[in-house]
């Protein structure tokens, strides 16, 4: 439990504090998505809003993956105990804060498109 908590804490700290575009592979994908978003909005080139939308979307994907990871680790429905559930609640509430911010950023970007 202690090892698991530590690995998850590290994932939260290093995973979410770092901008998604720090990873060169993700940076390319953000660019591709921003281009498609701009095209959908009838823009010739991806501007700041399209880029912000794509970036927030990749942030949401990263949060979703982390959420699945902590749920898989807790495995409460599959037979975990109350300690697992307390641990899961704590992790999910931390992730919810990041998720709210990412959704707000994406919403603002969408309104500016």
């Amino acid at each position: 439990m202690r090892g698991r908590a530590r690995s998850s804490r590290n994932a939260l700290r290093h995973g979410l504090a770092v901008p998604v575009e720090a990873d060169p592979h993700v940076r390319d994908e953000v660019k591709k998505l921003a281009k498609a978003i701009a095209a959908a909005a009838g823009l010739a080139r991806p501007g700041e809003a399209a880029h912000a939308f794509a970036e927030a979307e990749f942030d949401l994907l990263r949060i979703r993956k982390l959420k699945s990871t902590v749920c898989n680790e807790a495995g409460f429905v599959a037979g975990g105990d109350l300690d697992d559930l307390a641990w899961l609640n704590d992790k999910l509430s931390k992730l919810a804060r990041y998720e709210r911010r990412a959704f707000s950023r994406r919403k603002r970007a969408l309104r500016s498109l």
Partner: protein, 158 residues
């Protein structure tokens, strides 16, 4: 594209949607086939026309899936609490009493789940409202384009 759910009819996902893996939303203990079914139903209902619409529709599917997961966890928690209460009890209280004791003991966990479900429902409502706003704007743009074509046509007719 292999990670994307198969769509039943003519609504095909834009290629860029493959960048956003849908498998991220499904736990090891969950069925990807069931998730796909839900995703297809949402796409059929919302009929997204572009990548933005598809991303918003995917959110609706993902949030609905997450709400379902939270409800299952809550049901499991209630069952376990009830079972634990009945095992502990020396007397033989009724099922309702078991359920009440479980609820009191496990309340903080159930409450956390209820709060998460409420937040997810609000978020899903906001996204659906955003989809509606976008669809209205697209419809207005299309209507404006039709008006221009009509005007051009009448000028040519003169």
């Amino acid at each position: 594209m292999s990670n994307l759910p198969a769509i039943k009819q003519s609504y095909r996902p834009p290629a860029e949607l493959a960048l956003l893996s849908s498998k991220a939303s499904v736990l090891d203990t969950e069925s990807y086939t069931e998730y796909k079914r839900l995703f297809d139903e949402v796409i059929d209902a919302l009929k997204s026309v572009d990548i933005i619409g598809w991303i918003l529709a995917k959110d609706v599917a993902d949030i609905t899936w997450e709400i379902r997961r939270e409800r299952l966890t809550k049901a499991e928690l209630m069952n376990r609490g009830q079972h634990a209460a009945s095992m502990r009890s020396r007397a033989s209280p009724s099922d309702d009493q078991h359920l009440a004791s479980a609820f009191i003991e496990w309340f903080k966990y159930i409450d956390a789940i209820d709060r998460r479900i409420a937040q997810l429902e609000v978020r899903r409502g906001n996204i659906l409202a955003e989809i509606e706003r976008r669809n209205d704007r697209i419809a207005q743009r299309l209507a404006a384009a039709v008006d221009v074509e009509d005007a051009e046509y009448s000028e040519l007719a003169e």
